[in-house]
């Protein structure tokens, strides 16, 4: 503790460390996250093995003899019961081995790794667009009666247009007609990659931006009507300060949750956009692998999405604890 002089007011005022048991909170969230990932992996694994269609068909063809099928099945390890196969998969996955792709005849890690950078760039770009424009639009909509109809019109359009439609329109206008952007591929090098991925990122972020804008508008309006804002205004605080410290800061909690979950869902959302823009990333790989019943790849990518989701929600939980003092007093009351 840094402030020992509780009685002498003139002593230099230093802020003590937050009193929450930081390590315990973090340990608890990490354990919870790990448990969630494990449970999700079992559910996905089980669900994939229950889906109709046999990956063996992909390898040996429709007209193979039963003997050939059995051999292929044994080679893939599919002759063992589900729990045994699952335990094998988990043991390998923990050691970094995600198995071999059935169609590409290549390690799954080798397939996924080079595509991660592309998809992450796309997702990061979309996330920036969503957070910046979503919150800015929402703040305008929440604070200004004049802007509110404009924002709600955008929200209506943004939420109702599906990503594949906006992708088609964007390609038609900006890539084909105006020729400002390439129509496909992910590009090489950082600048070229941004150039290639900007249009897909816009298509990917449109609906989510509208969603975040709507959440922000609601949160800002709610906070602006609170009594404590009256106090702040009545004390002569400037509009900017009232907005930043007493409206936006309090509205940040729901907005952060909404944006965080949105960003976590972007990897899954990249499936459609990457396919539409022929970007060779995780999303389009997932699409192809599902069609080919390439289960190891589907499993690996699904798990990647799950991990990203869990990491983001865990970080959100921790951020919530940091931002809202009321959630900290779980141990001792008052």
């Amino acid at each position: 503790m840094t402030s020992t002089s509780a009685t002498s007011g003139t002593a230099r005022w230093t802020r003590p460390w937050p009193r929450l048991p930081v390590l315990r909170v973090i340990a608890r969230s990490v354990l919870g996250a790990a448990a969630t990932v494990l449970a999700a992996s079992f559910l996905i694994y089980a669900a994939l093995s229950l889906t109709p269609g046999d990956p063996v068909d992909q390898i040996v063809g429709q007209r193979a003899t039963p003997e050939q099928r059995a051999a292929a099945r044994a080679q893939l390890g599919l002759d063992e019961p589900l729990p045994v196969r699952y335990v094998h998969w988990v043991t390998d996955a923990v050691q970094g081995d995600l198995g071999r792709s059935i169609t590409y005849r290549q390690d799954v890690t080798g397939l996924v790794e080079p595509r991660i950078a592309t998809t992450l760039t796309l997702v990061a770009l979309a996330a920036v667009i969503i957070v910046v424009f979503g919150i800015a639009l929402g703040a305008f909509g929440g604070m200004s009666d004049r802007w509110r109809p404009v924002v709600s019109a955008f929200v209506g359009v943004g939420l109702s247009v599906p990503a594949f439609v906006s992708a088609t329109v964007l390609i038609g206008v900006f890539a084909v007609k105006l020729g400002w952007f390439p129509t496909f591929g992910a590009g090489d090098g950082f600048v070229d990659r941004l150039h290639h991925l900007l249009l897909p990122a816009i298509a990917l972020s449109l609906g989510w931006t509208a969603y975040v804008a709507q959440m922000t508008t609601a949160a800002v309006r709610e906070q602006a009507g609170k009594d404590h804002v009256t106090t702040a205004v009545g004390r002569g605080l400037g509009r900017g300060l009232v907005f930043r410290r007493h409206i936006l800061r309090n509205a940040a909690l729901p907005v952060m949750t909404a944006s965080g979950l949105t960003v976590a869902g972007l990897v899954a959302g990249s499936v459609i956009v990457e396919t539409a823009f022929s970007v060779d990333g995780i999303g389009s790989l997932l699409m192809k692998s599902v069609t080919n019943k390439d289960y190891p790849v589907v499993m690996a990518i699904s798990m990647l999405i799950v991990v990203i989701f869990v990491v983001v929600t865990t970080l959100l939980d921790l951020a919530q604890t940091v931002l809202d003092p009321r959630t900290r007093t779980t141990g001792g009351r008052k």
Binding site: S3, S5, A6, T7, S8, G9, T10, A11, W13, R15, P16, K226, D227, H228, T230, T231, A232, V233, G234, R235, G236, L237, G238, L241, R245, H246, R249, N250, L323, D324, P325, R326, T329, K334
Partner: protein
């Protein structure tokens, strides 16, 4: 005209001692909740003044427009409110204030203590930051000066471990402690006027008297002008020099506290005095018949006519003006005839 008589009397009073706060024939209409609703009148006619260092109690039931009066003084009326009449601070009409003057007025000249400290404090801001934010943002003090002053004030209102309290968040403090924080908040810029809007209503009865005592002591010590809003006539009489009794958006009676309580001149004041429980005698509590009226429900006559046992046809037809005589003001057609009938209580 009786109206001019009142104004002239008030003008003379103003000339004698320039009022700190002077509210003159304030009338407020608020837009209705739904779209297309007509305007609702929340205040018909409020005139009162607070001299420098004096304390005035504004008493009335809920819905009588007390809070709206303070909101008008602080410029916090909801959007679309229509105001006529004048609110003057040191002779200057606040409706002529520009944004800069409003900032100076709210951050330095006048402070407000709200009803429910819990909802009027930001749950995410530490008490220390909350106390100093206005004076620091308006550059009246540096952070360190403000912290020192806050600590000193906290100790004066009986909060011993000031440094620790400043680290806490509102949810970690009890209601009484939080309201004492609000008193400190109001005193931080050394204002010349403090408005207290039912500062003890949200507190436990045991804490109420303590907080009121602290507030009135601090105000007196600093000779700050106080407008104290409450529904508790006894409480108001105990801590204020003078009282104004409000009913349905109209001030019905004004006068020095002790005189007003001892000899009420308006039937409503007399009714209020009669309807409070007494500790020393066992008697039946006589409530005022009927229910309290809101300002917009009042007809053209006296606002209290529908519940008044002395009401005549004239009372129902014509609204009485607030007429001053001998340091007292009353808005009642029959004030003179009733002066011997109405019984007060001991202050």
């Amino acid at each position: 005209m009786t109206a001019t008589k009142t104004t002239e009397a008030e003008m003379r009073q103003m000339a004698a001692a320039p009022a700190l706060l002077d509210i003159e024939h304030l009338r407020i209409d608020l837009p209705g909740r739904g779209r297309g609703d007509s305007m609702r009148r929340v205040i018909h006619d409020v005139s009162l003044s607070v001299a420098p260092g004096a304390s005035v109690g504004l008493v009335g039931e809920s819905g009588s427009g007390k809070s709206m009066t303070t909101k008008a003084v602080m410029g916090l009326l909801p959007k679309g409110a229509k105001v006529s009449g004048a609110v003057r601070f040191r002779g200057e009409d606040v409706s002529t204030y520009d944004r800069k003057r409003w900032t100076a007025y709210r951050s330095h000249d006048a402070s407000m203590i709200h009803q429910d400290p819990r909802s009027y404090t930001n749950p995410l801001v530490r008490m220390g930051d909350f106390l100093i934010e206005s004076v620091v943002a308006t550059r009246q003090m540096t952070r360190d000066e403000a912290r020192d002053k806050a600590c000193a004030l906290l100790r004066e209102v009986g909060i011993a471990d000031a440094a620790r309290r400043m680290e806490q968040y509102p949810h970690e403090l009890s209601g009484g402690l939080l309201q004492r924080m609000m008193i400190v908040m109001a005193l931080m810029p050394s204002p010349s006027l403090v408005l207290a809007d039912e500062p003890t209503t949200a507190l436990d009865p045991t804490v109420q008297s303590e907080v009121v005592a602290i507030l009135s002591e601090q105000i007196r010590e600093r000779s700050v002008g106080l407008l104290f809003i409450t529904h508790d006539l006894d409480l108001a009489a105990a801590i204020n020099d003078s009282l104004a009794v409000m009913y349905a958006g109209v001030i019905v009676e004004k006068g020095p506290s002790s005189a007003l309580v001892a000899h009420p001149r308006h039937p409503y004041t007399a009714g209020l005095l009669r309807s409070r429980p007494r500790l020393d005698e066992v008697e039946e509590l006589r409530a005022i018949p009927g229910r309290p009226l809101s300002a917009f429900e009042a007809g053209k006559g006296c606002v209290f006519a529908s519940r008044c046992e002395f009401a005549t046809d004239r009372c129902r037809e014509e609204r009485p003006e607030l007429i001053e005589a001998g340091g007292r003001s009353v808005a009642c057609h029959r004030a003179d005839e009733l002066s011997d009938v109405l019984v007060g209580g001991s202050a």
